[in-house]
Symmetry: C2
Subunit: 318 residues, 2 copies
């Protein structure tokens, strides 16, 4: 019988590794189930507790998530760890419930145009779907957390600029429908820190005691600056992927999610304890390099090391 405040404790920041789902969404080669397990277990050892593990979307289209049930189980076996799975409809929600995953994440597009193009449904229908998921949650034994990402919340791949009022209205609807968390998603890395900060502040205000997640992509190099603004505006949950794994279907060559290890450094530098050991985290990149040698990995910490450490090495070499 999970409670969102147990899984996302008040008064602290939670960083989530979304590389195993969002980071793998567009890749052609992907890690074996065993490698995914090592990835999770080594990040757990580094202090990470929240993992987006895959999706319950059609396996034919997304073979990289065919092992989602096993990955859900891998995370569930680690004390204090929390798995998140993406679902888009009732079939997926039922499968996710059956897997025992701790959190079910869904999506509502910020614009009608993107909702139709991406999911072949209206935003109204997407919110009805959230309501149905919350009913299923309430009727379930383990009562997973239900979270909803407002995709394209800071700019849309089809219509361009997005009115923040629409995002606030949709967030309200999701909370009314019973969502435990709303995630503001800059899906295509459209925006800068001013817009991210202002929208986050507005959604935090309507969320009340419910936590707000900000999901950012580093498409145009603004990822960490946007994360900093989101933290200042009261976001409690931030997503990232190891090495910034992942891409953007609308910007060829673009990077994926915010680099997880740099996000940890940002939080620590701002005085938010994450419980994550950056050097151990950087070490996990070896798994990604081995399993997906053609995928570009990004990140400043991996290149330069922690300030104290790299400087000690350099000073000794002088």
């Amino acid at each position: 019988m999970s409670n969102v405040h147990d899984i996302y404790p008040d008064g602290r920041i939670t960083l989530r590794e979304v590389g195993l789902r969002d980071g793998l969404q567009l890749v052609k080669t992907f890690p074996s189930t065993a490698a995914k397990r090592r990835w999770i277990e080594r990040e757990y050892d580094a202090g990470v507790r929240h993992f987006e593990v895959g999706s319950f979307l059609p396996q034919k289209t997304f073979p990289q998530f065919a092992d989602v049930r096993e990955i859900v189980a891998t995370v569930a076996a680690l004390p204090g760890a929390h798995g998140i799975a993406l679902v888009l409809n009732e079939r997926g929600a039922n499968e996710a419930l059956g897997s025992g995953v701790a959190e079910i994440a869904s999506v509502v597009s910020a614009t009608e145009e993107h909702s139709q193009a991406n999911a072949n449904r209206s935003r109204e229908q997407a919110i009805a779907n959230v309501r149905r998921m919350c009913d299923l949650r309430d009727a379930s034994a383990h009562r997973p957390v239900v979270s909803v990402a407002i995709s394209m919340a800071l700019g849309c791949s089809i219509t361009g600029a997005v009115d923040p009022k629409e995002v606030i209205r949709l967030s309200e609807k999701c909370f009314e429908a019973g969502a435990d968390i709303v995630a503001v998603a800059d899906t295509v890395g459209y925006s800068g820190p001013k817009a991210v900060g202002e929208l986050t502040e507005a959604v935090v205000k309507i969320a009340g005691r419910k936590p707000v997640c900000v999901h950012l992509h580093d498409t145009r190099g603004m990822g960490i600056a946007n994360a900093s603004a989101a933290l200042d505006a009261g976001a409690r949950i931030l997503d990232g992927s190891l090495g910034g794994l992942g891409g953007c279907p609308f910007a060829p060559g673009a990077t994926g999610n915010v680099v997880f290890e740099d996000l940890v450094f940002l939080c620590e530098s701002k005085g938010f304890a994450t419980g994550i050991d950056i050097e151990k985290l950087v070490g996990v990149r070896a798994i990604l390099r081995d399993e997906m040698p053609h995928e570009a990995l990004y990140g400043g910490l991996a290149r330069a090391g922690l300030p104290g450490k790299s400087i000690k090495v350099a000073a000794a070499a002088e």
Copy 2:
């Protein structure tokens, strides 16, 4: 008879291209004089007006700046453009004055240890040097701007953490010595946005009407986030280099200055007009690729394009 407020107008942000000096500080192959000229002229065409052009350091050690006088002249020939040259001592200052460069930049280390190791002099002696440069300025015909960077202001490659009080004290001394501008420099990309914002705010406070520059490196991926914090704290001048050209002697593999084109996007996204055309600016990277094919270039805008543009292309392809 130049005045700092003519060159750095009040009430607006100035972005400076420092790739031609800081970006070339550590490279082994460097652009020809003709290529440097094309670099400057094409960035000028994109709207850039402030260029760090080179240094008056010993040519034997820094052959990449042997053509500094010609580059000073290149910038001076462009209406409204402003050249900046680095000098470390009186000999250099006299040579810089002789070149007619619009701004002479010097350095004071934030820590005594770095001052001795880097320049073989105390911080007191470095400030006496600033005073002497200001005297030379006052006695000169064209009265260049004198700026001073407090290097290692946010963390030192030798001693680690730096007390902000020391940086504030040294900044005061530099202004008292007659400096027109103080630049707070995170030379080794040590810090995050909280520390950058707090230090910038403190230095802006003591600067009064004089402009404060914040000079950032992207060593650990915090560059744009730190720039955002510096802008929020009242910095009026920010440095960057095209493609993030440059490295860090204390962090092998680390990137150099903040990526100039991403910095422009950041400023515009925050509502600060820069007068710079990002797409034209991105186009200038071709010169760097041709002249220095082994140097890594970074940046989100160059990968993904402007949101509107890349999205239009993607939408058309769907």
